[in-house]
Subunit: 344 residues, 2 copies
DNA sequence: ATGAAAGCGCTAACAA
DNA sequence: TTGTTAGCGCTTTCAT
């Protein structure tokens, strides 16, 4: 070995080191490493060889400061344990893969103040764009987004007043549509089961839409049951038992997500309840999990991956050409009746 | 409104703007904003008021360059769709919350070259530490990790030769232990079902350990079945049907993860197979999902959240005091027999 | 308690 | 095609 093997953290290498090792000016080394401008093949080779031999890793901090360009995209989501958001992140990663942009994730745990803090932290790195879940923010967070001077894409939801661009579905409309389908299938005594999260605005909007949809047919929610925390599948099981004990005459259960819906479905199967004859069921999200169940739960696909991709596309578009922004992309979730809603 | 509402991206605010607005020198403004050094309350107040009024967001790029300090921790995981990794990330986020450090995530899709690329990208931001899943890296990636001069924590797995610190479980030992438990319960014709991922080293080590454990009792794997992609729950169902058709005399199925194990379990329940009497089942991971199933699948908890927390703790420890590094933390997964392995 | 000067490592703009 | 000169917006250090 040629280099000393001190575990000591020696000073990080700089362009200058590569410059000296290769006998080429710092500026030209910089050009080679960024594939910019015209550099002769001979020089290029010399530089690359030296850089590799030394194990040089460019310092993007200095580069970003000098060029006023940062290839980072801030992505802010409420949670990672929901599986919904990892999928969105997957779509974003995928789309950004070859754009030269890098996603940086932050998690808020559904707390508006955390969102504000995370946003502040991320904006201080001067990213090329921000992708943030939801349209509801603290006034300070909204002000930061408005003044950031970079493309902002709010995702998941379109029901509200976006700061800049927005990509998502209308949860209100999703609620209305499933309500209509349920009514049309002849169900009348309908219960709702969902999370007790004051800051999950999308679940709230779905419920509002759902009630509005029922109201069109003069129907009111017959009962409702809420939970928070714990294993969703288990909670779905328990809540279903609870609500059915309390209101045995219910003929339909609408769950605010597929996990608790699947739990409810398993409960019904275990207890020999006639689904969808005596009792209909529906969830929300179209999670992959459902494919493995013995009976397909009715659900609505929330277009998660697609949302991630489109949002990333908008940010990437800005950095390539000078796009204008203010796009509004409303995706249409498809209703899958599955096996848990009676067919006409 | 007092400020003009041009959508125009005006130049971002600098310390100087705050300095001028408050009539305090840039240096003192900087001190106030970082809570460093002695500043009179009067001055502090003036500065904070001005900064808030302007909506100033510090430029960490410049700050990092000047101070040679970056409060970022690079976190590199193979996948987000596995639910295992989101949980680890959750543990990391939680632990880092009040340490002043910020996690930055990168995803490799189980591809060593992607890992190398992501690592290079992240190191170029000069993070305070790196947390990376697994002990297997390309030679170039390993060299980068060794020369980064910052704390490195490899997580999930301890079977191998770490670069610096390591926090995880021994997947080999996990395989051995479950094999012993299965043999002890009297099962003899044992099948394995798992992913066909050449780069999922942990699954591979579990299988190796499993076979070693069986070998202790002079038993060989009777059959095996692999899959890739698709809904794990569904795949588990399908693979179980396939392997049982092919080898009807199997009396135990060991699944490489809980999702396919749950699929297999549902298949058995549907088809009236006597579990655990005629057929025993076990998975791996201890996913929350299992709590909701009608029968508890035998599994082993992989300590995911704990791994995240401990890894983050090591990085945070380095940045506080000057810790030495090279820690090795082996956690012990607990075997939960559940309802799918015969009791003695 | 506050300010002035120098420079972190790189790149834009220009010169040769 | 290559090199030189000035910063980018902060923080460090040293002076006041």
């Amino acid at each position: 070995m040629t280099s000393e093997s001190t575990t000591e953290s020696r000073r990080a290498l700089t362009l200058r080191d590569v410059s000296e090792a290769s006998g080429v000016s710092e500026m030209t080394v910089s050009r080679v490493l960024r594939n910019r401008g015209d550099v002769s093949d001979a020089t290029r080779e010399k530089v690359l060889k030296a850089a590799k031999a030394l194990g040089y890793v460019p310092n993007k901090i200095a580069g970003a400061l000098a060029s006023q360009r940062v290839n980072l995209v801030a992505v802010i989501v409420p949670s990672l344990s929901n599986l919904v958001f990892p999928e969105v992140l997957g779509g974003i990663s995928e789309e950004l893969e070859d754009s030269g942009l890098q996603p940086v994730f932050g998690v808020t745990n559904y707390a508006p103040e955390r969102e504000e803090a995370v946003l502040y932290e991320m904006l201080s790195w001067r990213p090329s764009g921000v992708i943030v879940a939801g349209l509801e923010h603290t006034p300070a967070a909204r002000a930061m987004l408005e003044n950031a001077g970079i493309p902002i894409v709010e995702i998941m939801d379109v029901d509200g007043n976006p700061v800049d661009s927005v990509v998502g579905i209308s949860h209100r409309r999703a609620g209305i549509e499933i309500a209509r389908a349920i009514v049309k299938a002849g169900y009348r005594k309908i219960g709702f089961l969902g999370t007790k999260m004051p800051d999950d605005h999308r679940a709230r909007k779905r419920l509002e839409g759902f009630e509005a949809g029922l109201a069109e047919a003069g129907i009111e929610l017959a009962d409702r049951e809420f939970y928070s925390g714990g294993s969703a599948l288990l909670k779905g099981r328990e809540m279903t038992e609870t609500i059915l004990k309390r209101s045995p005459d219910l003929d339909f259960l609408y769950y605010s997500n597929d996990m608790i819906g699947a739990g409810g479905l398993l409960y019904c199967l275990d207890n020999g309840i006639d689904v969808p004859g005596k009792l209909g069921l529906a969830g929300f999200n179209g999670v992959e999990l459902l494919d493995g169940l013995p009976v397909r739960l009715a659900t609505m696909d929330a277009c998660r991956r697609e949302i991630g991709r489109r949002a990333a596309e908008i940010i990437a578009g800005h950095s390539h050409s000078g796009m204008v922004g203010g796009e509004r992309i409303e995706l249409t979730p498809t209703l899958q009746l599955g096996d848990t809603i009676r067919r006409a």
